[in-house]
C-alpha cells in the first residue's frame, strides 16, 4: 500500500466536515426521535443485522479483494491465518485491545515466514 494521494489540506478539511455530518446523523436522529416516542419494532429488527453484515463485507474486502483491480485474491495466507487467530482470540478473551495487538503481531510474523 503506497501513499499516492495528492489531495491538499483544504480538501481533507471538507472531507472531515462531510464525514462529521454522516457520522453524526445516525447517532443523533434516533436519539432525538426515540427519547420522545417508541422505536418501531421492524427498524430495530432490521438494524441488528447491519453491523455484522457490514463488518463481514469489510473483512472480505481486506483479505480477499485486491484494492486496485477488485479481483478475487485467494492467496493472502498470512492475512487468512491471522484472521482465524484473531477470531479465536476475540471469542476467548472478548477484549478489543488483545485481539488487535495479537492480530498485528500475527500478521507481522506470518508475513515474514510465509
Amino acid at each position: 500500500m503506497n501513499a499516492v494521494n495528492n489531495w491538499n489540506s483544504t480538501q481533507h478539511f471538507w472531507l472531515i466536515i462531510l464525514g462529521f455530518v454522516v457520522a453524526f446523523i445516525p447517532r443523533f436522529v434516533p436519539l432525538m426521535l426515540f427519547t420522545k416516542r417508541a422505536i418501531p419494532e421492524w427498524f430495530n429488527e432490521w438494524m441488528k443485522f447491519v453491523p455484522v453484515s457490514l463488518f463481514t463485507a469489510l473483512v472480505v474486502k481486506d483479505i480477499f479483494i485486491d484494492s486496485s483491480s477488485y479481483g478475487l485474491v485467494l492467496t493472502n495466507y498470512p492475512l487468512m491465518i491471522a484472521a482465524v487467530i484473531v477470531i479465536y482470540i476475540a471469542y476467548r478473551t472478548r477484549s478489543m485491545a488483545v485481539s488487535v495487538v495479537v492480530g498485528l503481531a500475527g500478521v507481522f510474523l506470518l508475513s515474514m515466514f510465509l
Partner: protein, 267 residues
C-alpha cells in the same frame, strides 16, 4: 481487630469524586484505544493528513472504522462522494446503538442529546449500556464523562500515531490489519445466534460477488443492505413458522458479564 475491611471492588467509595469513579470505569477502554489509535494515526499520516487534521478527524468523526476507511480510501484515490457514502453506511450502525440507549436518555434536552451523540462510539456505548442496564445509580452525566474520556484517549493516540508516522518508516499493510482485526473482533461480539453466523457467510459471499461485479466499494454497500434484509426476513419467517428452530438459538459466549450488552438490540 474487628474492623471490617470493605472490598474495594464491590463497594464504591461514596466520597470518591465523579471524575475518578468514571475514569475507573472508562480505563480498560481507554487503554485499548491506544494501539488502535496509534495505528490509525500512522495510516492517516500516510494518507496525507497532517497532524492537526488527524486530531480534528478524531474529534469530529470519532470512529475507528470510519477513520481507517478514510485513510484506506484516500490511498487508493477514491472520489470524495464515494468516501462519504461508504462512511455513511459504515456509521449507520450507530442508529442502532443510539436507539437502544434512548430509553435511558428520556427527558434530556436536545442540547444534551447533541453533545451525547457527538461522542457516542461502539465501545463507550457498550460500557454505558452495561452500566445503565445494571447500575440504577448510573447517571447520564457519568455516561457522558465516560464518552469524553474515551474521546480524549482516542484523539491523543491518533495525534501521537500521526507524529510517529512522520518520524518512522512503517510497513502499512501490517498496520492496516489493525482495522481488519478490529472488525473481526466486532463480528465475533455480534454473533448471537446461528442465524447471525449464517448471515455472516451470506454477507461474505455477496460482498466478494458485488465488489467484483461493480469493481468498486459500492459492492460493500449493496452486500450490506441485501444481507441485512435477508437476515431480517429470515428471522421474521423463522419466528413465525418454527419458533424452536436451532437457527434462533443463542450461541454460548465466554465472558458472560458482557451478555447484558449483547442483549441490547432486543428491546
Amino acid at each position: 481487630m474487628n474492623k471490617r475491611r470493605p472490598n474495594p471492588k464491590q463497594v464504591p467509595d461514596p466520597t470518591e469524586p465523579m471524575w475518578r469513579s468514571t475514569l475507573r470505569v472508562a480505563m480498560p477502554l481507554n487503554l485499548s484505544y491506544i494501539p488502535i489509535g496509534l495505528a490509525c494515526g500512522i495510516l492517516l499520516h500516510a494518507a496525507g493528513f497532517n497532524t492537526f487534521l488527524t486530531g480534528l478527524v478524531s474529534l469530529l468523526v470519532f470512529s475507528g472504522g470510519g477513520q481507517f476507511l478514510i485513510a484506506t480510501m484516500l490511498t487508493i484515490n477514491s472520489p470524495l462522494l464515494s468516501i462519504v457514502l461508504m462512511l455513511f453506511f459504515l456509521e449507520l450502525r450507530y442508529a442502532l446503538l443510539s436507539s437502544s440507549l434512548s430509553p435511558y436518555l428520556k427527558g434530556q434536552s436536545n442540547r444534551f442529546l447533541f453533545i451525547f451523540a457527538v461522542s457516542l462510539n461502539d465501545e463507550n456505548y457498550a460500557i454505558n449500556y452495561l452500566k445503565f442496564a445494571t447500575d440504577k445509580k448510573w447517571t447520564v452525566r457519568e455516561a457522558l464523562m465516560v464518552e469524553h474520556y474515551s474521546l480524549l484517549f482516542w484523539a491523543t493516540s491518533n495525534v501521537i500515531g500521526s507524529l510517529i508516522g512522520s518520524a518512522l518508516k512503517i510497513d502499512l499493510s501490517v498496520v492496516h490489519f489493525a482495522l481488519t482485526s478490529l472488525f473481526l473482533y466486532m463480528i465475533v461480539m455480534q454473533l448471537k445466534s446461528h442465524l447471525t453466523v449464517l448471515i455472516c457467510l451470506v454477507s461474505a459471499v455477496l460482498a466478494a460477488f458485488f465488489m467484483i461485479i461493480t469493481k468498486s466499494t459500492l459492492g460493500l454497500v449493496i452486500a450490506t443492505i441485501v444481507s441485512s434484509l435477508i437476515g431480517f426476513g429470515l428471522e421474521e419467517l423463522l419466528q413465525k413458522k418454527m419458533p424452536d428452530s436451532h437457527w434462533l438459538r443463542r450461541l454460548h459466549s465466554p465472558g458472560s458479564k458482557k451478555s447484558v450488552v449483547e442483549h441490547s438490540d432486543a428491546n
